[in-house]
Structures are given as structure tokens and as C-alpha cells.
Amino acid sequence: MITKKDLEHIGWLSRLELSEEDREKYTPKLNSVLDYFGELDKADTGGVEPSYHVMPMSNVFREDVPIASLSQEEALSNAPKNQDGFIKAPRMM
């Protein structure tokens, strides 16, 4: 069970601003999904290794050879705000 209070914390961890109304709306829906996920507890997974990757691949590398980068113009072309070649973000504090 997640409470509206938990949701505030999860919202912050997710960097999603949630209004009071959002929290009201989401809490029961998220809980119904979590209830459904409770199904997982019934599976016996003792001694079973997790599958992080579906294929048993390893050791895929690039060689240390440079390739062309984007131009500065291309790199900045999608940035809503920029200044002197930098991407401009809000103040930190």
C-alpha cells in the first residue's frame, strides 16, 4: 500500500510535481496495480538467478578511434535556451 504521503516522496524521487488533486487521483490506481503485482510473491524463485539480459552476451567493445562529433550548431539546435555556446539551465539554488 502506498499512501498519499509516500506518493509525495516518490513524486520527488521521480521529479514529477504532483498536485493535491493528482495525488488523490493516482493513489488508488497505483495501489490497484501494486495489488496485482502482489501476484509475484506467489512464485517460488528460490535458487533462481535473475535475468538482467535476455541474451548471454559479453565483451562488446569499441576501438579507441575518434568519429566526427555534432557541430556546435547541431548540438544546440534543440536546446530551448542557450548562451555563448552553452546550454542555459535554471539556477541551482
Partner: protein, 472 residues
């Protein structure tokens, strides 16, 4: 509806420009809302170029629709989300490079569920796509625009992506052929990630032959994707109308309660048809199927919560009023993401967070191992498996949108395939009340040849794939 071969003949006789113009007119008149962006100018320009200069690629001059989560240089790519407003990628996905090499013409970017999260194409910021067979119904999802475009005659070919059924579900609901390849066969470079460890790009067409042709073009090793496999293949050569000696596994768990009677009957009839052609069938047990849906959603949401962390409005996309950085970040995302995306980010964050990581995320990955083992066992007794793609035909618009659980339950037969990374093709095998029914043919890892051959033989001996929705 024209096949690739017919189109190539027409391009030789007339011109690519004429073909492209016809499709563009069709799109313009359409009410399906299958496209988010129509690349009219660049498509016509490219068609003229091919007409004047010639091109010997296998898809020279042929238009194709691209799901809008695949990066196209110079063409807006939105993932059907408000948060990518204004984003024009400076690079092409690997599959787009391959298509361009082959002479294909990108006619537009197809509608989808926002960030591929859904099975109905209703969560798009750009409005839902309608099912060409019945415009009060959903086309399936998340690649609904790609499937509807092909079914509705607005593009002869399209690309989608399949994370938990997102190619096969709309193929089934729209009555076209769609393939989810083995994990690693098509490069994901340029596919905007929803759940990296599960998804593959997949081709749509109106026939198995055209799917195979398109698959030949876009598959193959790409050094920019660490999970891309390196194998030589020629899928078109697998298309032989012969299933003698083929062993079909029938997983009873895929015909479980909740499966529409007509769907069950059509799929079992299809198996009979193949048996009449010389195949044999055997029941296989896949006991962990019942956990697949939960495991799938936990893994997909966990990966998604991290994948979508980059959408902060700094380098691209929507930007709201500035305050301090962390607050601006939260507000950009609150304004840019839709409800279903937010729900999945929140649940994924929760499933990975301290104290819950083992209960949800790790547990789901262990179940993934058990499901892979189910498939390994089943394939000891069978060459391919056959099951319904979706438990029912296309549902009504709005029917499930506010009930996440019932929406997720629609994916019950498609998600285990992604958990195991095996290939599966969905093709039409019947109709119910005027709506198409799809069956999926599932293969072993890298055995696309077997499922393409099975699907091809079925298609050659039936006529479900030739039926078209009215007005297409």
C-alpha cells in the same frame, strides 16, 4: 492493397512521385489519425530524386511510415508526447539509415501510445488513432498508427516497436502482419527507449512476404548497439510453402479464461489448417505464464523510470518557466508527460527504490528466468508455438483507458515473448463481427526462418490477409 512487387512494377511504369503523391492524398483525406507528422516535402523530393537518378535498392521509391519513437534526422520525433515538443533529431536511427540505403521513402511519423506505453494508441498527446475496420474501436497499440496506416492503405509498409506486444497487438487488431524479431536482431540505435531489455523494432506489411523483405533490409549487426547480434541472414529465402513435418506446440495457458470464444476457435482452426498441410501439433506446458504480466510490467516500468529521466527540458523539448533547477525539472515533467506515463514512472521509481528493489525488480527478473526456461522446455518438443496474439478483437475507444489493470491484462499473451526474447509474428487468421483476429507464431531464438515459413504457408493456403477494411 499493393505489395512491394506490384509497387516496384508501377514505379518502373509510372514514377515513385506518383505513388508517393497517391499515398499522401490518402493520408490527407483520412480520419484515422494514423500520423503525427507527414513528411510531405522531403518525401516528394526524395521520390523525384529516385525517379531522375534511379536507385537499385530493394525498396527504391517505396513509401514507408515510421513509428514516432524512431529517430529521423530533420523530421520531428515526438514519441506522441508533449514533452518532446519541437524536437528535431540531428541523427538517423540505424533502421532509418538502412531504409534510406534501400531506397525507401519516409512518408511520415506514425501515431502511437505516448512513449509506447499502452495497447490502444489512446494515450497519444496527438489524439487517438482509429481502427480502420471500425472507427469506434482502437487500433491496438502501442504501434497503432503504424498498423492502421498499413491496414488503411495509407502506407504499404511501416515500422513499429514491440516492448510487450506493441507490434503484434495492433497487427492483430488491424488485420495486418507484424513481426517482433529475436532480441538483438535489429539495432535499437535511434529507438527511443521505453524498456531497453525487452524491446525490438518490428516491420508491418499486408503480407508475410513483404514483412520478410522489409526485415531483410533493417536487420543486421550494428556496432553502435552493444546488444546487437552479428549473424548473416536472408529471411526472404525462408519463405517456402511447405510445413510437412513441422511440429507445432500449443501452449494451453495462452487460451486461458478471458479469451474470446471466436478468437480461440479461429486460432485452433488455423492450427488444423497447418496440420492438414502436413504439420503436427502437441500441447506444451508453460506453467509460469501466469506471472509473466506482473514481471513484465515491473521490469518495463523500472527501466522506463530511468530512461525517461533525461527529459528535463534543457537540451531539447518542452521548457516551462524557470525557477530553481530541481523545481523547474519537476514542473517540465508534470506539464509534459501524460497520466499513463506518469503512473509508470512513479511505479517504476517505487519498484527500484530502497526497500522495494528486491520485492519487485529483482523478483521480476527471477521470474523472467523461469519464463525463459518455460520456452526452452517447450521448444524441446516443438519447432514453433502457435497462440492467440490478443485474447479478444479490438475493443471500443475509451473502454479501458481509465482502468490500468484491464488495459494491462490485454497484453497477457504477448508479454512472455518479450521476457524470453524470442521472435513472434502476428498474422490474420479469422474475423469476429467484422473485426480481424490475429494469431502469433512464436519461434526459438534466431529462428525467424521457421516462423516466417509457417506464417507464409498459412497465408498461401488461406485468404484472411486479402480482406480489406471498407474505404481502404
Amino acid at each position: 492493397m499493393a505489395s512491394i512487387n506490384e509497387l516496384i512494377e508501377r514505379i518502373h511504369a509510372d514514377s515513385s512521385e506518383e505513388i508517393v503523391t497517391e499515398y499522401l492524398e490518402k493520408i490527407e483525406k483520412s480520419k484515422l489519425n494514423a500520423f503525427i507528422t507527414v513528411a510531405k516535402e522531403s518525401a516528394l523530393l526524395r521520390a523525384k530524386e529516385i525517379d531522375s537518378q534511379g536507385h537499385d535498392g530493394p525498396l527504391a521509391g517505396i513509401p514507408i511510415a515510421i513509428k514516432d519513437n524512431i529517430s529521423t534526422k530533420g523530421i520531428a520525433t515526438t514519441c506522441a508526447s508533449k514533452i518532446l515538443t519541437g524536437y528535431i533529431p540531428p541523427y538517423d536511427a540505424h533502421v532509418i539509415e538502412k531504409l534510406k540505403e534501400a531506397g525507401a521513402i519516409i512518408i511520415g511519423k506514425a501515431n502511437m501510445d505516448e512513449f509506447a506505453m499502452g495497447s490502444s494508441t489512446e494515450t497519444s498527446f496527438y489524439g487517438p488513432t482509429l481502427n480502420p475496420w471500425d472507427t469506434t474501436r482502437v487500433p491496438g497499440g502501442s504501434s497503432g498508427g503504424s498498423a492502421a496506416a498499413v491496414a488503411g492503405g495509407e502506407a504499404p509498409l511501416s515500422l513499429g516497436s514491440d516492448t510487450g506486444g506493441s507490434v503484434r497487438c495492433p497487427a492483430s487488431f488491424c488485420g495486418v502482419v507484424g513481426l517482433k524479431p529475436t532480441y538483438g536482431v535489429i539495432s535499437r540505435y535511434g529507438l527511443i527507449s521505453y524498456a531497453n531489455s525487452l524491446e525490438q523494432i518490428g516491420p508491418f506489411a499486408t503480407s508475410v512476404r513483404d514483412v520478410a523483405t522489409l526485415f531483410d533490409v533493417i536487420s543486421g549487426h550494428d556496432p553502435r548497439d552493444s546488444t546487437s547480434v552479428d549473424r548473416e541472414t536472408n529471411y526472404s529465402s525462408a519463405l517456402i510453402n511447405d510445413v510437412k513435418g513441422l511440429k507445432i506446440g500449443v501452449p494451453e495457458e495462452y487460451f486461458a479464461e478471458g479469451t474470446d470464444k471466436n478468437v480461440e476457435k479461429s486460432v485452433r482452426d488455423a492450427i488444423n489448417t497447418l496440420e492438414e498441410l502436413g504439420a503436427t501439433s502437441v500441447e506444451v506446458k508453460m506453467p509460469h505464464t501466469k506471472y509473466a504480466l506482473s514481471a513484465y510490467y515491473v521490469i518495463a516500468m523500472s527501466e522506463a523510470s530511468s530512461n525517461l529521466a533525461r527529459f528535463d527540458g534543457m537540451r531539447y523539448g518542452l521548457r516551462t518557466e524557470d525557477s530553481d533547477w530541481h523545481t523547474t525539472f519537476s514542473q517540465v515533467r508534470a506539464a509534459g508527460f501524460g497520466d499513463e506515463v506518469k503512473r509508470r514512472i512513479l511505479l517504476g521509481t517505487y519498484a527500484l527504490s530502497a526497500g522495494y528493489h528486491d520485492k519487485y525488480y529483482l523478483k521480476a527478473l527471477k521470474i523472467r528466468t523461469l519464463i525463459k526456461q518455460d520456452f526452452e522446455r517447450a521448444f524441446r518438443d516443438a519447432d514453433v508455438l502457435i497462440a492467440p496474439t490478443m485474447p479478444y478483437p479490438a475493443f471500443k475507444l475509451g473502454e479501458k483507458i481509465d482502468d490500468p489493470i484491464s488495459l494491462y491484462l490485454a497484453d497477457v499473451d504477448t508479454v512472455p515473448i518479450n521476457l524470453a526474447g524470442v521472435p513472434s509474428i502476428s498474422l490474420p487468421c479469422g474475423f469476429s463481427g467484422g473485426l480481424p483476429i490475429g494469431m502469433q507464431v512464436i519461434g526459438k531464438h534466431f529462428d525467424e526462418a521457421a516462423i516466417l515459413r509457417t506464417a507464409f504457408a498459412f497465408e498461401e493456403n488461406t485468404d484472411f490477409h486479402t480482406r480489406q477494411p471498407e474505404g481502404s
